[in-house]
């Protein structure tokens, strides 16, 4: 949260205590949601996702500082993930199909959600940035770590939050793994 954002939140009339409680709620939601993925509870996870979700991971490139503007691909260009809810449901259906060979034996993942920073609250929506580390191990020796920044938008609903946007900015360029069959 840079100075400007902090000002926005303060302008939003949140006291320090209110911000701390909001932080707690948001963190718990993010941890719960991560735990569902790690527990392979994909259906339950889908239930936490809004109908209009945008789940997106652009492609990052190694570029020089003078070309830094092209470090990430833009919306509408190619991406690793560019999913709406229908596509996420397809992914879950595939995982449940009984014939998703790359996930049977299933991989074992652990989502580390760290450095949670609420960036903006606008109406029912809260934008939050985290540093993530998705650790995954498969079979008896394959290990992958995906690391980066995630910008999530949560929408407050009766009894909790829903995930309305997840933009994943990976730190890696070339992906050094056979697949990305896991959700971030």
């Amino acid at each position: 949260m840079d100075g400007e954002t902090r000002t926005r939140l303060q302008a939003a009339q949140l006291s320090l205590a209110e911000r701390a409680l909001l932080q707690f709620e948001v963190e718990q939601f993010l941890y719960d949601e991560a735990a569902l993925l790690d527990a392979r509870e994909y259906r339950a996870w889908l239930a936490l996702v809004t109908d209009d979700i945008h789940y997106w991971m652009p492609i990052r490139r190694t570029v020089t500082l003078s070309d830094i503007g092209m470090e990430f691909t833009k919306p509408g260009d190619m991406a690793y993930f560019d999913d709406d809810r229908a596509m996420l449901e397809m992914r879950v259906k595939k995982l449940e199909a009984g014939s998703a060979w790359s996930e049977d034996p299933p991989s074992r993942s652990r989502h580390f959600v760290s450095n949670v920073r609420i960036q903006e609250t606008a109406g029912a929506e809260i934008t939050v940035e985290v540093a993530f580390h998705l650790y995954r191990t498969r079979l008896n020796s394959e290990v992958s770590s995906w690391v980066g920044r995630r910008v999530d938008t949560l929408r407050r609903v009766e009894g909790g939050f829903r995930l309305a946007r997840r933009h994943i900015f990976l730190d890696q360029t070339v992906i050094h793994t056979t697949n990305m069959s896991t959700l971030f």
């Binding site: 690793y80 790359s102 070339v174 697949n179």
Partner: protein
Amino acid sequence: MADGTQAIEPAWEADEIRALFDAKTGWLDRRVHSDAALYQLELERVFARGWNFMCHESQLKNAGDYFINYIGEDQVICVRDEEGQINVLLNTCRHRGNALCRAEQGRAKSFVCSYHGWNYGLDGRLIGVPGQSTYYRGDIDKSRLGLVTAAKVESYLGFYFATMSADAPPLYDFLGDVGRTGLGMVCANGEVEVVDGIQKNIIDCNWKIAVDNLFDWYHVMYSHASAGTAGIFDPAAVTQPKSQMVMLGDYGQAIGGPGLSKELQDKIDLMSDEERIEFARSGQVPTLRIRPRAATELMGQEGVRSMGHPNLFPNLWITLGGQQLCLRLPRGPRHTELWWFTIVPKDMPAPYRQAVMRMATHLFGPAGLLEQDDGENWSQSTRAASGFSSRKLGAALLMGLGHDEVQVGENGQTSIEGYVGEHGQRWFYRSWSEWVAARDWAELEATRSAPPTGVV
């Protein structure tokens, strides 16, 4: 990781190499997927010798635009110069070897080495040497110290290729009718451009296992069953027992996969643009868009019926009806780097473009619903090529062997039509073994097989 399977490899004689694939029986020696000495020969005799895909002209719009690619494991800079020409430069400074570019792409005025500041023009000429008159006392012949350029750089339909061998035949001839048909498929709906963003990932498989898989329509039904269940595509539609069409060309070029019948193609040729689109939507053909009549010029009267997968030997797969290219870069005998290029007609209407992008994003690439499962099979198959007992077994490319016949179309294009089979794979490995056995281009030309005719 513990890994004791890096065997002590023998040197290979030419006849041993040729024996690695037995065209008569279809058995392939599994060591082609693991042997380190064979791999070194491939770098020399397949990659440095052959024509390697570099980029499409649309990726390098302006002078100074560059894109890094590989010839085997040698990094090259593909760059458009001030004259608009696309050059392919070995990415290593002639002074001490340092890389000129460490980015994947970008724009440059010239290439300055970060070690001592030697400066090369966009055509590779050495144009600046700090201390030339002082430290070097003027005694340095810059004209002999330009970046090494590919021996030949040529293009077809805007696709650029390069070879390190001056003896290589012209690209046009190397592609031959089959290769040109493949690139024609990409351009069948008009002038194209590469969408920004090339997916790249590394799979722990031998590069040839990834290549031969593109001819392999047999695996679709089983490997990709879950993608079918999820509903993103219909495996059955593309593997109808008798809808296949394989085209084999010189130098190992090939196309394999579903094809339309001549009857259907005749019907389509009579349709208006609107009718064609409507017909495609109806789902009766396994493709996003049916080709306009004009495509016949690019693909030939027979080729135009192909809904399959061209491979430009050795390692460029054309897929999704020409809307994606996948380059398979060798990274040692047991690793392959995959690069996915997405290509759309320049004037494609937004909804079509979005539909293409949706398929491109969600079928292939490391997170793609199809590709996820392929990698698993490929890496396990590569692993089996190393075990002491398991590498002694062959790979059984037996399907359809001796049961089909090469047909010759009116225009001379040949094809094998009918069942899903392993004709493409056999042709690929047969050609590959000849490439690797031959010491130079002359020997390759003298010894390579012509594409089969008659019963295959």
